[in-house]
């Protein structure tokens, strides 16, 4: 049982990694500051390093998760197992849809669902759930959006148009900072869960921190997931919400990094995913001439709203089956593996990877497309690009003439 939970936890860590590549790397990839492959390689190595740098979050989380999900009731490895199934499957579904949703919320949701089945409704403190998870989820994008809006106005107010490509160099640093901050936070969750399981199974003394091998495998799993890259989500964040220029990318990442660092150091935890989505929207509002696709934003918002209930529902179902005994656990495992494999196979029909990450998604997911349609879309995209290049050079010449006038 413990081995099964650890394997599942590591797979969750992997999905967490490829879900969250987009948070740091969607904007530099969208503006061309970094080549897609280089960007995910940087993100992966910084996540690997970040996971080793700090285990403080893991220590607090292995306690915090129980309290939030359960209110002091003893959690069993079977419940953790069911919760992880809920979280992992929901992560796979949102990845298939290209939705940036919070992996921590999926984890909370799954564990809450499993806890309700395993220990009843009284085991979940809904007031804590509101104040720790639901309200921050509303405040995170608002905060980051507001800051990114102001930062974008500043950047575009100060710099001149022909200088703005210089922001690309800055983007490399700000996005790396976001990656590092992510690494120090997110691998910790899985470490916390594995440590919790080891303690619950009696393999480790209560109250001790994560073992070195746990840190090492968690770091590797999240780095591998990050390197695999959730290209679908990167495309949604980088292209689906708004057009991003280097100046906006820099402003958005600076806001994301500032929000995450401030919130994690001043004791008001905010989700990385929601912060960076908020930043991208804020920067879209901040630049004149940029438009935000509110339809996509709305879809992402709905995704956030249903993450906890949906992961909770799957977690609860898994718990109902798993609590019947060994056979139930086996059934759970088989079903989960089948669903994950099915999603992978289904996703291959409409691959999104380093090569076509720059295509604009007209809808979030269009699984059934013939080759002809795809070719037609590629041609359209090329034509659009050529158009925008012309427009750019045109803008530049007018800008230069304005500068000449001023001089």
């Amino acid at each position: 049982m413990v081995v099964l939970v650890i394997v599942l936890a590591l797979f969750f860590d992997f999905t967490n990694g490829f879900h969250d590549t987009a948070n740091a790397m969607a904007t530099p990839i969208a503006t061309g500051a970094l080549k897609p492959k280089a960007a995910v390689a940087i993100a992966a190595s910084l996540n690997l390093v970040g996971a080793f740098l700090s285990t403080e979050v893991a220590r607090t989380i292995s306690g915090g998760l129980i309290k939030e999900g359960e209110g002091g009731i003893q959690i069993t490895p079977v419940m953790i197992f069911a919760g992880l199934i809920g979280a992992t499957l929901w992560n796979m579904v949102t990845w298939l849809l290209g939705l940036p949703s919070s992996s921590s919320h999926a984890l909370f949701g799954g564990l809450i669902g499993a806890a309700i089945v395993g220990a009843g409704f009284g085991s979940v403190d809904f007031a804590v759930l509101m104040s720790k998870v639901v309200l921050p989820a509303l405040l995170a994008p608002l905060t980051a959006g507001l800051v990114a809006y102001l930062a974008t106005r500043l950047a575009y107010g100060i710099s001149k148009k022909r200088q703005r490509n210089g922001y690309k160099h800055g983007q490399v640093f700000t996005s790396s900072l976001v990656s590092l901050a992510h690494g120090t936070n997110d691998a910790q969750k899985t470490m916390g869960v594995i440590t919790l399981t080891l303690i619950a199974g009696g393999y480790q003394a209560a109250g001790s921190g994560p073992e070195f091998w746990v840190i090492a495998v968690c770091a590797l799993a999240i780095a591998l997931g990050t390197y695999t890259g959730g290209w679908r989500i990167i495309r949604t964040m980088g292209k689906g919400l708004t057009e991003i220029e280097p100046g906006q990318g820099f402003a958005a990442e600076a806001s994301t990094a500032a929000t995450i660092l401030a919130s994690s150091h001043l004791g008001f935890a905010l989700s990385t995913t929601q912060v960076s989505s908020g930043s991208v929207i804020g920067t879209g509002i901040g630049r004149k001439g940029a438009s935000v696709r509110w339809k996509t934003a709305g879809r992402i918002g709905i995704g956030w709203l249903i993450t906890i209930p949906a992961a909770g529902l799957v977690g609860a179902l898994a718990a109902v089956v798993a609590l019947t005994g060994v056979v139930g656990v086996v059934i759970d495992t088989v079903v989960a593996v089948a669903v994950i494999a099915g999603i992978f196979l289904y996703s291959r029909r409409n691959r999104v990877d380093a090569r076509n990450v720059h295509d604009e998604p007209t809808v979030l997911v269009r699984p059934k497309r013939s080759r002809k349609q795809r070719q037609a879309e590629a041609r359209e995209a090329e034509a659009r690009e050529a158009d925008s290049r012309e427009a750019d050079s045109h803008d530049e010449s007018t800008d230069n003439s304005k500068a000449a006038d001023l001089a």
Binding site: S54, T143, Y167, T184, G267
Partner: protein, 67 residues
């Protein structure tokens, strides 16, 4: 229920730090583009200051430094 004071502090800290980084980098970009003699060094100074703010971020990320 919710700790509004903590949230307000986070909001202000975020605003100040993000705007500081963006302003410094933008002023740096603008100055380094100039032709006059004093502008380039001033621009580089802005980049260095901006880099220091980012390094402070790295310092905050790694708990080893400030335990």
């Amino acid at each position: 229920m919710i700790d509004w004071a903590a949230f307000f502090i986070v909001l202000v800290a975020t605003l100040v730090s993000a705007c500081l980084v963006v302003t410094l980098y933008s002023v740096g970009l603008r100055l380094i583009d100039g032709t006059r003699g004093w502008r380039r060094p001033a621009g580089i100074a802005c980049f260095v200051l901006c880099g220091l703010v980012v390094l402070y971020g790295v310092y905050l990320v790694i708990p080893y430094f400030h335990r």
